[in-house]
Amino acid sequence: MLRSHLDTLQGGQYSLIHIETLDKLRSFDLESICHAILLDMRFGRDYSLETIRYVGELQVGVALIALCRDHEQLTRYKEEIHMLDDYILAERLVEGELSTRITHAIRRRLKEQELLHEKMLLQSLLDNIPDAIFFKDRESRFTKVNRAMDEIYGQYHKTIIGKTDFDLFADEHARAAFNDEQEIIRSGESLVGKLEKETFEDGHINWVNTTKVPLRDDQGRIIGTMGISRNITELKRAEDTLAQERTLLKTIIDHALAGIFVKDLHGRYLVINKRHIEYLGAPSDADIVGKSIYDFFGNEEADRISAADAKIMETEHGIENMVDYRHRADGSELWLLTSKVPLRDDSGRCIGLVGISLDVSEQKRNERTLKTTIQMLEETKLQLIEAEKLKTVGRLAAGVAHEVKNPLNVVSLGAEYLENHIEEPEEMLEIIRDMREAVKKANDVIFELLDYSSPHKMRMEPANINDLISRVLGLMRHNFNEAGIKVEEALNGDIEPVCLDAPKMEQVFINLFLNAISVMKKGGTLTVRTDLIRMKSTGSNVSSAMTELFRIGDKIVLVEVLDTGTGLSQSDEQKAFDPFYSTKATGEGTGLGLSVTRSIVEMHHSMITLKNRLDTQGACISLLLPAATNRNEYD
């Protein structure tokens, strides 16, 4: 009967191979010779069992179908029956059934094979991946974890199945993880790549990157969560170290006493510290990154700096300790000592430059003060030598004066006697009068010399220089009238008092007015002006003498004495104040007047200059005296 069923297969869908023994079956690679095996269980139990086990354990894509006599026979294989893909009760077999049953068995076998394969893949993934993979139920209890997780957390617990994060970790992390999972369960939304800090009960810390997704059943209902955690503790530590180094570097840069900056190839600031921002003249909290030097300086200045930078990046040679000068917004000076080096990337390519600038304004100022001081000392030394010389001259003069006065007096008395007693000839009397006049001039010279070399004792008191000038002009009114000189007074009533020694200062004006008279022999106009001015700046138009005497903001009383004489030659301008320099004819002056005048003026911490008038022919003498209100600052 079976044979007839088998015959129906033959020649149709299937071909049959008949294998008599198990040994023979074992010699074949089953998958390459057949799709299904029909096992006739009627040969005997032992033989059948062995065959079922052999084929079942092969787990190949060959369906195993048992052919039994009846139900009763089948029940004797209870333990092995799950290894069969199908069974056929021979006595109940109907026509065509065998073919259909074989076809279905093959299909089932293949399906099962696929499932097995997939399960194998999945299991091997779970078993071999070093990341921790876990499944949790709705109460966040672990229902399954992979080997890696078991190994990581299993060392603290016999098993973690059934436990929660609260059992594994400190409360801080467990609570957060629990909340996350409950949120996933509630919303159905995944949590991807969350950085988690796992604090273990023994205190050690792991940093993990965790992704959790909802776990659904085949109906789509959320029954828990599953997730994967990658331990990134090392990475995090490296990152933290990097961040620390960055913070350290930033702290150093921000608090350095120097300006530090980094520019890209286009001159844009990539990094700039507060101090350098200040050097650029911007508020220290300004956002400078991305800006360039052109945002802070005029084109000319910016072009210069930019060209220097370009050269560094082009030649890849840095510059060291270049001194750079800038004006601050408040007008003060800024001297920077700057070094710049090219900035290279990993491959050695120049990608910009790094610079550091030190404020050396203070040193510059000191340097300059030192220079000025040295210069002043040099000048003082010269003045001292000059003064010492004059002192010697003075001592000599006093002695010489005594020796000369006697013989001169003999001559003058003799001449006077002769003049009084000779009646004629008149020529003789003229000669005698000339002699007397000459002796008188010689005497004057001696007095002037004594004046010049005698020690000056000063008594300084605040006084109005206008009053002093008016007094002297009054005293000399006769001299001006005699010389046909008109006097113009332009005295500013608002000037401030000046500290002066009145007799000495009077001598100054007497000398100046006498000089004016001597250069205006044919008459003219003498103008005396006073005014109050302020020391404005120390620019190039202000002489160094003035810068030394006055400070910016000082009030200065200006006195100008203008004549309409012949004016000055170049040598006059240079030497007018030198002792014994005179433009007067020999015998008319000693050349000591202006020199004495200048000495007195200098004793008043003031200065005197002599130059030609610009408006008309003549000379202009300017006196600059500090107002008494400035004096406190000097003393």
């Binding site: 006065k405 006697n406 013989p407 007096n409 003999v410 008395l413 006697y417 009646e423 004629e424 000839p425």
Partner: protein, 139 residues
């Protein structure tokens, strides 16, 4: 060349007697010439200051012009010697010196510390003025 015509003068009968003490003979001679030229003075000159007391006793001047700086005995010592003697102590003295500070010397004749001074250079009018001033106050 014309002849030089000289004006003669002789001392008045009430001419004052003036002793001039100075180590410089040319100076004393010139002072004598100028003073006697006025007719108002009879002048005796002395160039050796150490003889001042002796000559004063002999000449009995109304007034003495005394140089301050002299080699043998200076004017201060001479004045001290004169004032220590009853015969000469009341004769007024005018000190004459080239060694004075310029402020005072500008004035020519001045007083300082109760004494009278004449600063060189002097001219005839200053000399006479000084003598007259001192004589009028001392009598």
């Amino acid at each position: 060349m014309n002849m030089i015509k000289f004006r003669k003068s002789s001392p008045d009968k009430d001419a004052k007697r003036v002793l001039v003490v100075d180590d410089e003979p040319t100076f004393t001679r010139m002072v004598k010439l100028n003073l006697e030229g006025t007719g108002n003075y009879i002048v005796k000159t002395l160039n050796e200051s150490q003889r001042a007391v002796e000559v004063t006793k002999e000449f009995t001047p109304d007034i003495i012009l005394l140089d301050v700086v002299m080699p043998e005995m200076d004017g201060g010592d001479v004045a001290l010697n004169l004032r220590n003697r009853s015969v000469t102590k009341d004769i007024p003295i005018i000190f004459v010196s080239a060694m004075v500070s310029m402020q005072e010397s500008r004035k020519g004749f001045y007083q300082s510390g109760g004494e009278h001074f004449l600063a060189k250079p002097v001219d005839k009018d200053t000399l006479c003025g000084a003598i007259e001033t001192v004589l009028s106050t001392s009598q």
